[in-house]
Symmetry: C2
Subunit: 198 residues, 2 copies
């Protein structure tokens, strides 16, 4: 059986997006740098990013893709990504945690579910022997950590201080011991993976 | 000429100490885990830690010691460390930033100075060709980043979520681009060093 793994990118000061995130600047002001690693280098909101991850970044992504049997994300992240243009691009079932499951678009490869527990249960079933990957946003990852679902936690730290925005661990008040599992370094991110110790 | 390098340990959720730090628990509740890497493994407030850093942790410490010609720390850190028993143990001049330089103890190897600018200026002079190392606490590091003094920033991330305490980047609102320089990994910490891009 697979595990439940959560992963997200933050700045060194712990923000998942910079200040004033919203339409046209999904990662906040000057937040593009958070995802340089995803697109193989610098890009900006002005133009659609076209690049691809390379080197250690590609290795990190490929590992996740190889292991992931189903994905869980929050509604905010789905909206921020503008539903990836209207179709699930991940090649694996994607469950969106939302208060309004009735908003699920037909035939787009997204399954809207009410609440994290249901999302995890259905994703586990869909994933079979593979992992359930929780991709964010921050709130869903905090909920999943609190509920004890997360067995592995990966943080991709981008080499930037944003000085504002939304913190991954804002309001998170649990004490958890982690165990270092693996590390990948590129010019654009430090990908650290931990096992969550029970 | 050497550079000005700042370094400090944080939890993965960005705290330099856990909740309720104070006498007898300098790193806050359950904060000992932040410094497992310093002492070669687990220790607790109940007993004086006796261990020594090993492996990648020792390498990281030794690099800092080899390069450091003078140290700058804040008064809070000096007090939290209980003045290292009353004598500067570092084998290099140590400047303590304080509002009350008249509190300097005689013949103990500590130089109390009023304000960060003076501390950096005097430390640079004392360091000669070597580096000035800013060791914390959080407030002194934030001040030094804001003032543009910090050329290299090292964060040692301990594999723990503390869920509360004092955040390194609390109230820090500058946007800074960093460049990854080096990385050392042990079971007890991920030591990441960045160059601060001007």
């Amino acid at each position: 059986m697979g595990i439940v793994a959560a992963g997200i990118t933050t700045s060194l000061d712990g923000y998942i997006v910079g200040p004033n995130d919203g339409p046209g600047q999904g990662l906040g002001e000057r937040g593009e740098r958070l995802h340089y690693w995803v697109f193989g280098g610098p890009w900006s909101y002005e133009e659609e990013p076209r690049g691809q991850a390379t080197g250690a970044d590609k290795e990190f992504l490929d590992q996740g893709i190889a292991r992931g049997g189903a994905l869980v994300i929050g509604r905010n992240m789905y909206e921020a990504a503008e539903a990836w243009g209207g179709r699930n691009p991940f090649g694996a079932p994607l469950f969106v945690v939302t208060h309004r499951p009735e908003d699920e678009p037909p035939d787009a490869g997204f399954t809207f579910v009410e609440g994290l527990d249901e999302a995890i249960a259905r994703a586990r079933e869909a994933a079979g022997d593979k992992d359930v990957a929780i991709g964010g946003g921050a709130d869903v990852i905090r909920q999943a950590l609190r509920a004890g679902y997360v067995e592995e936690l990966s943080i991709s730290i981008a080499p930037v201080l944003l000085g504002g925005g939304k913190r991954l661990f804002e309001g998170f008040d649990q004490d958890l011991t982690l165990e270092h599992v693996s590390l990948l370094q590129s010019p654009f991110a430090t990908h650290i993976t931990y096992r969550v110790v029970r």
